[in-house]
Symmetry: C2
Subunit: 156 residues, 2 copies
DNA sequence: ATGCATGCAAATGCTTTGCAGCGTG
DNA sequence: CACGCTGCAAAGCATTTGCATGCAT
């Protein structure tokens, strides 16, 4: 897991700094999200973790994900209306969200990374990170006839 | 309602262009979201519309909001984990989201508005709009002792 | 030792869906 | 006049919660 550039040490530090306990469940849930290339849903994370810790339960996954998000290690990504999904906060990236099918695609942008955080935002509190969220119509949904409903995303 | 800069004509055009029917429910739901300064939840929108169209039902509000979102007139804003909220797409703005309490604050930024959409995003499809999403810790949650749980946001 | 974290299972609601009648185009 | 849209009520299901036990500190 160290191979993919994930630092479990950072996780340990973050947990301890926040006065939270280091448990196998937390380690594994984090690892799964961190390794994932997409935006795993809670069930997907649950399934993956279960292969390592068969006794883990759904609610622990939920609780863990919120805990990790609260200390900045993961972020809920919401396809909004769909079930919640999670992103690890390593390697900053941005989202293209299709307004029609709800699909979320990642992209990176050097020019955006250089962009300074507007000070207006800093007035609200501590800024941990930022990403651009772009709404539009994906190639698939642009095609006539492809009237993809939100609940049956034809993927793209 | 024209007073607040909302163009009902745009709504009519958009609906017709998409082959959708113009109904009082759609007009009113859109108006409520467009007028709102914050990020109304579905229930809040429902309550507001009900004052004008007492017979409207919750599911119509849901359906209408998704419909409007699919043609780009509103956007689901997800406090993620919380219930869905909606934003009208007039006047571009950005979001500061507190990782701890989930509160979403708006801000505008001239410098950001000038920022070009990275072409990487355009590869995915048609771009309708973009906004920056900043995660961090709000002033309230920064204070020690204020361990605001996600479900009981102490507001800020 | 001391409590936070976990698992289990039941509860909670938000959100969706099927269908008949109505209103828009 | 035809078909999309609405309302109603019931179903679906993602997410949360209470509690006893286990484990990290």
């Amino acid at each position: 897991m160290e191979a993919s550039g994930i630092s479990m040490d950072d996780l340990l530090d973050s947990l301890r700094r926040s006065g939270l306990r280091v448990t196998p469940q937390r380690l594994e849930v984090y690892r799964v999200v961190a390794v994932s290339k997409s935006h795993p849903s809670v069930v997907e994370i649950y399934e993956a973790v279960r292969r390592i810790i068969p006794s883990i339960s759904m609610d622990t996954v939920y609780r863990t994900l919120w805990t990790l998000s609260q200390i900045g290690l993961t972020s809920p990504v919401s396809s909004s209306g769909d079930r919640v999904r999670f992103d690890s906060n390593r390697s900053p990236h941005h989202h293209f969200i299709c307004a029609k099918c709800g699909e979320i695609r990642d992209f990176t942008s050097g020019s955006l990374d250089d962009m300074p955080i507007p000070r207006e935002a800093g007035d609200f509190g501590d800024v941990w990170g930022a990403h651009l969220e772009i709404r539009g119509l994906c190639r698939n949904c642009r095609k006539p006839g492809r009237n993809s409903k939100r609940k049956e995303p034809e993927h793209g």
